[in-house]
C-alpha cells in the first residue's frame, strides 16, 4: 500500500469500552477520489471505527493506535481541536435522515449555523446564496422551498440530500458515510448512490463508506475492508474481494445476499406445481378479497392507502407484497388481520366473510390469522420468558390445559428450529435472528390458517436473514398455512414467494406468479424497482446489465 495519495490512514486502530475490545487493530486507507467501504454485520465495530476517527466516540471509549488525516495525527487530540477538524476537513452522513436534523428548526436555520462554523459566513445574503448553491449541487433544484422547510415536510431522500449538502459545506477532503442509504427505498437509494459517485468524481474527495450491504459495496466502492467482531477479516480492492473472496466469512456474507437472478431460477421448486396437487380444490382459498380499499381520515380530508386491490391465496402458498414506503403494503396486511377498517366487494377468510358477524364470531375468524412484525426486539415482552410469550396466544384463547400449552409451545419452537430449552430464556438473551424466530413461533402456535409477515427480515443481518427465511419456508412446507409476505426487498421476495403483487401508492400495478412478474416485468414501475436493486456484481460485469438480467 503506497501512502503518497493517502487521505485517511488508520493504523492498528483499537477501541475499547470498559476493558471490552470493540475494534482490535484496524488498518485502513482512504484515498482522494476513491471510496473505501468498511463492511460488517451489526456489532462488528464499523460505526465505532468511524466515530472514533472523528472524535465522536461515546464517553468511556478509549482509542489507541493511529489515525492520520493528510499526515496529521487524530488520535489523542483535544475535543476542541477535533471539533475544528470536523468543522472544516471532514463531512459526515448518517443512517436515519429523518432524525438527522432537529425537528423544530427550519433547514435554512441549520445551514446558517453550520455555514457560520464551517465557512465563516455571516450575514443573511451570503448565507442564503451559499445554502441555495449547496442544495442545488446535491440535486435539490427547488432549493428555496427546501431551505424554508421543516424536516418533517421533506421526504427521506430529500432529507438525506440536505444532510449531504451540510457535510459538503466547508469543502471537506474526507466524507464519512455511515449506512447512508439503509433507511431509504431502493429507488431513492439509487439516487443517493449516484449522487455520492458524482461527488467523488467532481470533488476528488475520499469517502469512507460504512455499510452492511454488499450490494451497495458492489455499486460504488473501490476498496473494501471486511470487519467481523472488531477484526479485519479481509481487505483489498472491491473487484478482488467481490469476485474472489478469500476469507470464509466474506464468502458467507456474499453468498447470503439474496440475488434475484438466482431466486427466480429457484421458483420452479416444490410449491410451484401445488395447485394441481394434493390440496383439495374444493376447499375455499384461505384468503379471497376483491375490491379492497382502505381510507385513512386525517385533518382536512382523507388519504386512500389502498385502492381497489384483490388477492387469492390457497393453503401452502406465499403471496408477496412489494412496494416502496407509503405504497400500502402494510395496510393491506392489517386489513387482512381486521386491524384497520376496510371496504371490499369480497372479503373471505377460509370462505367466511367476517363482516356482518357478531363480535365474538368475527374475533374467531381473525384468530386464524397470525402476525410477525419487523422489529423482533420490540415485539416481545422483555420481562417474560420465551415460553410464556409463545404460549400467550393459547392462554388468551383459553380452554387448554397447562401441559397442552407447554407441549404446543415446544412444537412451535421445533417448527422454527430452536431447542426446547429456549422456553425459559428471556428475549435479551437471544440474538436478533433467534428473537425473530421466536416471534414466528408465537404467531404459529395457534396454528393459523394465514400468517402475515410484515418485513420480518428487514432488521436483520444478511446471514441471519437467510436463516430466518429458510425457517419460514420450512414451516410453511410442513404445516401448509397460507402466508402474506410483505417486504421492500425484491430479492428476498423473489427467493420465497409464489405469487407477488407490486404496489404503488395504494394500487396494484402488477400481480401474478413471482417468476413472471419479477422475471419479465410488464409495468415500467416494476422494471424501475428491479433496476434499482443494488447488486454486488454490477461493476464486476462492467456495470451494464440490470439486476433482473
Amino acid at each position: 500500500m503506497s501512502t503518497d495519495d493517502e487521505l485517511l490512514a488508520l493504523r492498528d486502530l483499537r477501541v475499547t469500552i470498559a476493558d471490552r475490545t470493540i475494534v482490535s487493530g484496524l488498518d485502513l486507507s482512504v484515498r482522494a477520489g476513491r471510496v473505501t467501504a468498511l463492511v460488517g454485520e451489526s456489532g462488528s465495530g464499523k460505526s465505532m471505527t468511524a466515530l472514533s476517527t472523528i472524535g465522536l466516540q461515546p464517553r468511556g471509549a478509549q482509542v489507541y493506535g493511529s489515525a492520520t488525516l493528510d499526515g496529521a495525527e487524530l488520535v489523542g487530540r483535544s475535543a476542541q481541536e477535533m471539533r475544528r477538524l470536523r468543522s472544516g476537513r471532514i463531512g459526515m452522513i448518517f443512517q436515519e435522515p429523518a432524525q438527522s436534523l432537529s425537528p423544530v428548526m427550519k433547514v435554512s436555520r441549520v445551514f446558517r449555523d453550520v455555514l457560520g462554523v464551517r465557512e465563516g459566513l455571516r450575514g443573511r445574503a451570503p448565507v442564503e446564496v451559499r445554502t441555495r448553491e449547496l442544495l442545488t449541487s446535491v440535486g435539490l433544484p427547488d432549493s428555496a422551498r427546501t431551505a424554508a422547510s421543516f424536516p418533517h415536510e421533506l421526504s427521506g431522500g430529500e432529507l438525506q440530500r440536505v444532510v449531504i449538502a451540510l457535510a459538503l459545506s466547508g469543502d471537506p477532503s474526507l466524507l464519512i458515510a455511515d449506512e447512508p442509504t439503509t433507511a431509504l427505498d431502493v429507488t431513492v437509494q439509487r439516487g443517493i448512490l449516484d449522487l455520492l459517485t458524482r461527488i467523488v468524481e467532481e470533488r476528488e474527495l475520499g469517502v469512507l463508506l460504512i455499510t452492511h450491504d454488499m450490494g451497495v459495496v458492489g455499486e460504488i466502492a473501490d476498496d473494501v475492508v471486511v470487519l467481523r467482531d472488531g477484526e479485519v477479516v479481509e481487505s483489498g480492492t472491491a473487484k478482488q474481494v467481490l469476485a474472489a473472496p478469500e476469507a470464509p466469512y466474506t464468502q458467507a456474507l456474499l453468498s447470503a445476499v439474496p440475488r434475484l437472478s438466482e431466486s427466480l431460477e429457484r421458483t420452479d421448486g416444490p410449491r410451484a406445481e401445488d395447485p394441481g396437487g394434493t390440496e383439495s380444490d374444493s376447499a375455499p382459498p384461505v384468503v379471497r378479497v376483491e375490491g379492497l380499499s382502505v381510507e385513512y381520515y386525517r385533518r382536512g380530508g382523507s388519504h386512500r392507502a389502498l385502492d381497489d386491490v384483490g388477492m387469492e391465496i390457497r393453503r401452502g402458498e406465499i403471496h408477496g407484497l412489494v412496494g416502496e414506503s407509503g405504497s400500502g403494503k402494510s395496510t393491506w396486511g392489517k386489513a387482512l388481520a381486521g386491524l384497520v377498517p376496510a371496504h371490499a366487494r369480497t372479503f373471505e377468510l377460509e370462505g367466511v366473510d367476517p363482516r356482518g358477524l357478531r363480535a365474538a364470531e368475527r374475533r374467531a375468524v381473525f384468530e386464524r390469522v397470525g402476525l410477525v412484525f419487523q422489529d423482533p426486539a420490540s415485539s416481545l415482552n422483555p420481562r417474560r420468558s420465551v415460553g410464556w410469550s409463545i404460549g400467550e396466544p393459547l392462554q388468551l384463547a383459553g380452554g387448554l390445559s397447562r401441559t397442552e400449552i407447554a407441549r404446543r409451545t415446544r412444537d412451535a419452537l421445533e417448527l422454527v428450529r430452536l431447542p426446547a430449552s429456549f422456553v425459559s430464556r428471556l428475549p435479551h438473551e437471544l440474538s436478533g435472528g433467534q428473537r425473530q424466530r421466536v416471534s414466528i413461533a408465537r404467531a404459529l402456535v395457534h396454528e393459523p390458517a394465514l400468517l402475515i409477515a410484515d418485513e420480518p427480515t428487514s432488521a436483520l443481518d444478511v446471514t441471519i436473514q437467510a436463516r430466518v427465511i429458510e425457517v419460514l419456508r420450512e414451516a410453511i412446507e410442513q404445516t401448509r398455512f397460507a402466508c402474506v409476505f410483505i417486504s421492500h426487498d425484491l430479492a428476498v421476495v423473489g427467493s420465497l414467494v409464489d405469487q407477488v403483487t407490486v404496489l404503488r401508492q395504494g394500487r396494484a400495478v402488477e400481480q401474478g406468479a413471482a417468476r413472471e412478474v419479477l422475471g419479465s416485468p410488464q409495468h415500467e414501475y416494476t422494471r424501475a424497482l428491479l433496476e434499482s436493486v443494488p447488486d454486488p456484481e454490477r461493476r464486476l460485469r462492467g456495470g451494464d446489465g440490470g439486476a433482473a438480467a
Binding site: 471539533r83 425537528p103 462554523v117 415536510e153 451540510l166 427505498d185 386525517r298 385533518r299 402494510s330
Partner: protein
C-alpha cells in the same frame, strides 16, 4: 387535531362545570348564610326575609341562572326598603364584608399577580439552568447536587421552607422584611423587597420540577441523531445546548403556563406565611367565615385563570413545533422505518 374553536368551547364547558359544582357544594354544605345576617334571636320570619334579601329563597337552578345573568347585566339584592347594588360584571355580593365580590377580587388580584409573575420567572430560569448544567455533567458532582437538592425541594412542605426563609433572611440576618405588601405603584423597590422571599420560596419548591424535567429531557435529546449531526458538522457545544433546549420548548411552555395559572389563582400557604393579602388569603378567610359568595367567586376566577393558561399553552403548541400545526403540510414519508407508523397513525 382539534381546532382552536373547539378548544375554546371545551374551556367554556369546563368553567360551567366548575360553576355548577361549586353551586352544588353551596347547597350540600350545612351552612345557611342567611342565618348569620339574621342576627340573634332569629325568628323564622326574619330568616325568611334575610333569605329573600340575599336571593337564596329561589331553587338552585334559578339562582344559577340569576348568577350567570348578573355577570352580564349586574344585579340588585334587597327588599323594598333596603337595596344593595352589584354592578356588572357581578359575581355575587359578600354580606359579611359589605362589598361586591368583584371589588374584593380586584383588590387582591394585583398581589397574587405580583407573586405569580416573579415566582414563575425565577423558578423557570433557575430550574432550566440547573437542569441543563446537571445534564451536561451527568454523574458529576454538580449533577448530584442538583438531583439531591431537587429531591429535597420537591418533597419539602412549603410552610417549612417559607418559615425557614423568614427566620433566616428576615428575622436572623434582617436583610428583608418578613411580610406584608407594598403596591408597585407606591414604591417599586419596596414592592420587590417584600416579594423576594415569597418568590424565592416558591421558586425553590417549583423549580425542582423544572430541573428534573430539563435534566432528563436534555440527556435524552443529547443522545439523539440530530445532535450527532450537529457535532459532526463542528458546531460548538454551546450551540448544541441551544438546539436541545429549543426541542424542550414545548413541554416547558406547558409547565410554565400551568404554573402561572396555579399561582395566579392564589397560593394559600405562601400568602399566609408572608402576610400577603392575595386571592389565596381571601379564599382562606372566606372559608373560615363561611362567606359563600366569596368562595364561589374566588373559585370561579381561579378556574378561569387556570383554564385560560391551559388554553394559551394549547394554542401555542403548533407555533413551537410545526409538526403539530393544523392544516400544515402532511409529513412526507420516504424513509422506510418510520413510514408505517406515520401513515397509519396520522
Amino acid at each position: 387535531m382539534t381546532s382552536a374553536l373547539t378548544r375554546v368551547g371545551r374551556s367554556l364547558a369546563v368553567l360551567l362545570t366548575v360553576l355548577i359544582l361549586t353551586f352544588a357544594i353551596f347547597y350540600v354544605a350545612p351552612i345557611d348564610p342567611a342565618l348569620r345576617m339574621c342576627g340573634k334571636p332569629c325568628s323564622p320570619e326574619d330568616l325568611e326575609a334575610a333569605r329573600g334579601f340575599m336571593g337564596f329563597d329561589q331553587p338552585w337552578f334559578v339562582q344559577l341562572g340569576t348568577f350567570l345573568a348578573a355577570i352580564v347585566t349586574g344585579r340588585t339584592f334587597g327588599s323594598s326598603d333596603v337595596v344593595v347594588e352589584c354592578a356588572a360584571p357581578c359575581l355575587g355580593y359578600s354580606f359579611q364584608l359589605h362589598q361586591p365580590v368583584t371589588a374584593l377580587l380586584g383588590d387582591r388580584f394585583p398581589i397574587s399577580f405580583s407573586i405569580a409573575i416573579g415566582a414563575v420567572a425565577l423558578q423557570a430560569v433557575l430550574g432550566i439552568a440547573a437542569g441543563a448544567l446537571a445534564a451536561r455533567r451527568q454523574g458529576g458532582i454538580l449533577d448530584r447536587i442538583v438531583t439531591g437538592v431537587s429531591v429535597i425541594a420537591a418533597s419539602a412542605p412549603s410552610f417549612v421552607v417559607g418559615l425557614l426563609a423568614v427566620v433566616i433572611f428576615a428575622l436572623g440576618l434582617g436583610l428583608l422584611p418578613s411580610g406584608g405588601y407594598v403596591p408597585f405603584t407606591e414604591s417599586p423597590v419596596d414592592w420587590a423587597r417584600h416579594l423576594v422571599l415569597p418568590w424565592a420560596t416558591l421558586a425553590f419548591l417549583n423549580g425542582a420540577v423544572y430541573a428534573r424535567l430539563v435534566r432528563s429531557s436534555m440527556i435524552e435529546q443529547l443522545g439523539l441523531d440530530y445532535v450527532r449531526t450537529a457535532r459532526a458538522s463542528g458546531l460548538s457545544e454551546r450551540r448544541i445546548d441551544r438546539y436541545a433546549l429549543r426541542n424542550l420548548a414545548l413541554p416547558l411552555t406547558t409547565l410554565i403556563a400551568l404554573d402561572i395559572g396555579a399561582l395566579l389563582g392564589g397560593t394559600v400557604i405562601t400568602e399566609r406565611i408572608f402576610g400577603l393579602p392575595g386571592l389565596g388569603a381571601l379564599l382562606l378567610d372566606a372559608t373560615t367565615t363561611a362567606d359563600l359568595p366569596v368562595i364561589v367567586g374566588t373559585t370561579l376566577v381561579g378556574s378561569l385563570i387556570i383554564v385560560l393558561a391551559n388554553l394559551g399553552a394549547d394554542l401555542a403548541r403548533p407555533l413551537l413545533d410545526r409538526r403539530l400545526a393544523v392544516g400544515g403540510r402532511p409529513p412526507a414519508t420516504t424513509t422506510r422505518s418510520d413510514s408505517t407508523t406515520q401513515e397509519t397513525t396520522s
